[in-house]
């Protein structure tokens, strides 16, 4: 960290120095520029005044009368000139505007204070240079001080005044106040607390400072940086005509950072400098600022980059979309990019390209149209016989299709009708089948005739081939089209179609058949007819093949099972015919296969329903009649008992009657409940297992208490979904059942819990009661089945439970290792799920916790 920090600092110091130097250089440049501007402006002003008409008019008068300044002529001339020059003097802050006569004597001074002092004298400044040098050109004097205004410095900018004839009339001198210039130099912006700008001119032995210095206010024109020292100071370099920057030592001997410039117009040197101590003292502060700035720049950079990337991505997406559109034939797509960058240019060039492509396509389409029209005309001259054949074929196909459609519809209807209607339907279907067979027969005949015609056509075209080359093409097209037609019928059929060789090899199958068995066409064609046929149906299939080959019949129709790729059977209704060649030799079998799995399923369901109904009527007739027999019989016994005044027997017989009546009433209630299941359902709702169980336990609380049964319920948060009152009945019946068959268990216990061993969630109701021997278990869920004739109940309870579970998409079964081993009923329900709420505590132990409240734990 320290090393990195130091390194960072060194780097920052170096970069700081660079930036400081750059700052100094630009400051120096700026000051030079300002000085130049200062003098340029005044030179311009000088030129203006030199040609001023008022000046030219009045100068001779002033020159004439300057010895008598009170002379009205002089006064008049001076007033005129004052009016002209005063505003100029004020605006440029001239210290004075002076005019000389051709001899160099001052005849006019704009400054009222020094006016009289100047008249008749020479121009101020060393050696009358401002007059002598200004006779023919503009001259800028050195800086000089004026005894009249000590502490102030001046320069004279002077130039000749010639009349219109070009005669020299005198010199115009503008007194420049150096304070103005010093103000410019003293503006230390960018030079910190220690910096300043030095101005100097070269003198023989060194650089003479021209301005008051920060650390030496009297330096101007007095202090020199003498040549010949150990070092050449920046200002010395500057006055010697050099420009540069760097670390150096200043006039005080202090290390400074400086930039220096030579000003050619003035032959001056200028130096902008700052103490090194200050320049680098702010390194850390600056570093911080720099880092913040860097971070900001980086951030802005990232933002800009992401914006750029996004807009770039959008445009690329547009280009891609466009490319896809154009690729798929939409030649009207235009990118319409307006941006001026490369992406825009690319879009526009693609647009241009697409437009070109479109025009090319258009002309190609035009060409193709023409060609197509030409060939259609040719085709128009087709053989008439072919059309006739096709007509017949088409008609037959239409009839065949209509029959197929009607048969499919009948199959569908068949699946939903009741048994009685089934019978009717079957009758109707056989009629339809007859019609279908007839139509198929016709279709076959047509196929044969079509084949023959195709053959004839081919022969004819072959003949034509020999005759003329153009006719050949037409004939081949016709044949191809006819084959194409057959292929379409075969390929596009929604029923399975297959061609089988007499040896059982599959020659060709259509996509519908391959789909039906879950294979690809290629896979099916690798298989043999026997391998895709259900083993139980092979015999019948072979018999079918045999009878067809033996010509015992022309058509064989069977309901058979194929084997799906997955191994499951597919019920089909299929019809097979044998195609023979002209010598009556077998060519191949043509089979049409219609899947009737749905119908078979419906039939199976119908059969099951019928069985259930039979069982129901049987049990009802038997079990409801039983108590009725009892009641009627014992009523008569009671009559006899009364006649014989046998009170004891009356009571006994009345007991039989009461029991039978109770049983009957219970049975009727439960039968009603059973019939309601699946017929009248309450809307399905999500209910926590705990609530359903609690409700069920409340309903059987009496039995639980009187038998002293302990109940333990899981606290796993399971949610049930379904008809809530029915689900309550499930638990009610199972618990009631468990209590009833507790046997002589001394510590009766019923557990209600949840299991999930990866094969789905199962609920269970387990007891430690008498158990059920395995051989009786299958009977248990049957209607009116009772294992114990002495037990109360009707034998409907478990039937009801099973029915409810099944209606809720579940299964129920029981497990018991036998007598005295207890019984566990396990069941699943559709929509059973663990609650998303975090379970309090999970696990087997909690299942054994006694249920609190609502249930009587004993």
């Amino acid at each position: 960290m320290t090393i990195a920090g130091s390194l960072g600092f060194v780097i920052s110091k170096r970069s700081l120095e660079r930036s400081r130097v750059q700052g100094l250089e630009s400051t120096a440049e700026l000051k030079v520029q300002k000085i130049d501007d200062f003098f340029r402006e005044r030179r311009g002003n000088l030129a203006t005044i030199q040609k001023d008409a008022t000046l030219l008019q009045n100068l001779p008068i002033l020159a004439q009368y300057y010895g008598d300044p009170a002379n009205p002529e002089y006064l008049k001339a001076r007033a005129l000139l004052d009016r002209r020059l005063d505003p100029i003097s004020q605006s440029y802050q001239y210290n004075d505007i002076l005019l000389t006569n051709p001899d160099g004597k001052i005849v006019y001074a704009s400054n009222k204070t020094h006016f009289l002092h100047h008249l008749g004298r020479l121009l101020p400044g060393p050696g009358n240079a401002s007059f002598l040098n200004a006779k023919n050109s503009v001259y800028l004097s050195d800086i000089f001080s004026n005894e009249l205004e000590p502490g102030h410095f001046f320069m004279l900018l002077s130039g000749p005044i010639n009349d219109e004839a070009g005669n020299f009339q005198g010199v115009l001198a503008l007194g420049l106040n150096m304070d103005q210039l010093y103000i410019l130099l003293k503006n230390n912006t960018g030079l910190g607390q220690t910096g300043e700008t030095l101005l100097a001119k070269r003198v023989e032995d060194g650089a003479l400072f021209l301005n008051p210095l920060r650390y030496d206010p009297d330096a101007a024109l007095r202090k020199k940086a003498l040549f010949g020292g150990n070092q050449v100071s920046p200002i010395q370099k500057a006055v010697q005509g050099q420009n540069g920057s760097g670390i150096s030592v200043d006039y005080r001997g202090v290390q400074v950072l400086a930039a220096w410039r030579y000003i050619p117009d003035l032959d001056w040197g200028l130096e902008a400098k700052i103490d090194a101590s200050e320049a680098f003292s702010a390194a850390h502060t600056l570093l911080k600022a720099y880092l913040v700035l860097s971070a900001l720049v980086l951030l802005l950079g990232l933002l800009a980059a992401s914006l750029t990337a996004k807009s770039l991505y959008n445009r690329i997406a547009i280009l891609q979309k466009g490319a896809e559109s154009i690729g798929s034939g939409d030649l009207d797509f235009r990118f319409g990019a307006k941006s001026q960058d490369e992406m825009g240019a690319l879009s526009r060039s693609l647009d241009r390209m697409t437009a070109k492509l479109k025009s090319l396509t258009a002309s190609r389409d035009e060409l193709e149209k023409k060609v197509a029209l030409a060939s259609r005309d040719e085709l128009g001259k087709e053989v008439a016989g072919r059309e006739q054949a096709e007509g017949a074929l088409g008609e037959s196909e239409e009839r065949f299709r209509a029959n197929t459609v009607s048969r499919d519809k009948q199959d569908k209807d068949l699946a939903t009708v009741t048994r009685d209607e089934l019978g009717k339907e079957v009758a109707g279907r056989s009629l339809a089948e007859d019609a279908l067979s007839e139509s198929e027969e016709r279709f076959r005949a047509n196929t044969v005739s079509r084949d023959k015609q195709d053959k004839d056509l081919a022969t004819a075209s072959r003949r034509e081939l020999r005759k003329e080359a153009s006719g050949r093409k037409l004939a081949e097209d016709a044949l191809g089209e006819s084959e194409e037609r057959f292929r379409v019928i075969f390929e596009k059929a929604t029923v399975g179609k297959l061609l089988t060789a007499p040896d059982g090899k599959l020659l060709e199958v259509n996509p519908a058949f391959a789909d039906m068995l879950g294979y690809t066409i290629e896979e099916v064609q690798q298989l043999n007819f026997d391998t895709i046929t259900h083993p139980d149906d092979i015999t019948e299939s072979r018999e079918c093949v045999r009878s067809l080959l033996a010509n015992e019949r022309s058509d064989c129709r069977v309901e058979k099972r194929y084997l799906h790729k997955s191994g499951r059977p597919i019920w089909t209704d299929e019809s097979t015919t044998l195609l023979r060649d002209s010598q009556e030799a077998p060519l191949c079998f043509i089979t049409t296969v219609v899947e009737i799995s749905a119908r078979k399923l419906a039939e199976e369901e119908l059969r099951e329903t019928n069985e259930e109904l039979t069982r129901f009527t049987y049990t009802v007739s038997h079990d409801l009649k039983s108590p009725l027999v009892t009641i009627k019989t014992f009523l008569s016994y009671v009559e006899q008992d009364i006649k014989s005044s046998d009170a004891e027997r009356v009571a006994k017989d009345m007991g039989f009657i009461r029991n039978a009546a109770d049983k009957m009433s219970l049975m009727l209630d439960e039968l009603l409940a059973l019939s309601r299941v699946g017929r009248r359902m309450n809307p399905s709702v999500e209910t926590p297992l705990s609530e359903v169980v609690k409700e069920a336990l409340d309903l059987v609380a009496g039995q639980i208490t009187s038998r002293g049964v302990k109940i333990k319920v899981t606290d796993e948060p399971v949610i049930l979904f379904g008809d809530r009152p029915r689900l309550v009945e499930v638990f009610q019946n199972l618990v009631d059942n468990a209590v009833k068959f507790m046997g002589d268990q001394l510590e009766p216990l019923i557990e209600i819990g949840v299991e999930d061993q990866g094969t789905g969630i199962k609920l269970f109701v387990r007891d430690n009661g008498m158990g059920i021997e395995p051989r009786y278990q299958p009977k248990l869920f049957g209607l009116f089945e009772k294992l114990d004739p002495a037990s109360k109940g009707t034998g409907i309870g478990l039937s009801l439970v099973r029915r409810i579970v099944e209606v809720h998409g579940g299964k129920i079964w029981l497990e018991s290792e036998g007598l005295g081993k207890g019984t566990t009923f396990r069941f699943t329900l559709a929509g059973l799920k663990k609650s998303p709420e975090p379970p309090g505590e999970r696990g087997e132990e909690n299942e054994r916790k006694p249920l609190e409240g609502g249930v009587n734990n004993v």
Binding site: S621, S626, T633, N659, K779
Partner: protein, 147 residues
């Protein structure tokens, strides 16, 4: 009315009331002196094959006739019938089905499995009584059993 050997009837009936009816009607016949009643199919087989509580032959004398209900707990009447008829000794015992079911399928199944007679319990008391009378005369008075 009739003199003869006392006849032992095995009544297989799950409904106690019906068993009572049968008992009352048949015990009125002086000849029918013994009725053994079992309430389910399994008990009937245990008795006949002398298993469990009926293992001691003294506790399970051979019945002369079996009155069998079809709808029975644990093992139903038709299964009891089948097992009896598969046993060489037991198959000699005539079986009369006495049930509330008049279902054709039950009758066919019962006769197929060797039932000798099929009686449907009448709901009407007089008819039930008359049926029992007739049964008694025929099976208990007239019918001869091997020793």
């Amino acid at each position: 009315m009739f003199e003869g050997e006392p006849v032992l009837i095995l009544l297989v009936e799950d409904d106690p009331a019906h068993a009572e009816i049968v008992r009352r009607n048949l015990t009125d016949f002086r000849v029918a002196n013994r009725i053994v009643h079992v309430a389910d199919g399994q008990a009937a087989l245990d008795y006949l094959f002398r298993r469990n509580q009926y293992a001691d032959p003294a506790a399970s004398p051979r019945p002369n006739i079996i009155l069998l209900d079809l709808r029975l707990p644990k093992v139903d009447g038709l299964e009891v019938l089948r097992q009896i008829k598969e046993d060489d000794e037991l198959k000699r015992i005539p079986i009369v089905v006495l049930t509330t079911s008049g279902a054709e399928s039950d009758m066919v199944n019962a006769y197929t499995r060797g039932a000798g007679s099929y009686l449907v319990k009448p709901v009407d008391f007089d008819k039930f009584t008359k049926l029992m009378d007739t049964f008694g005369y025929y099976w208990l008075a007239w019918n001869k059993f091997p020793e």
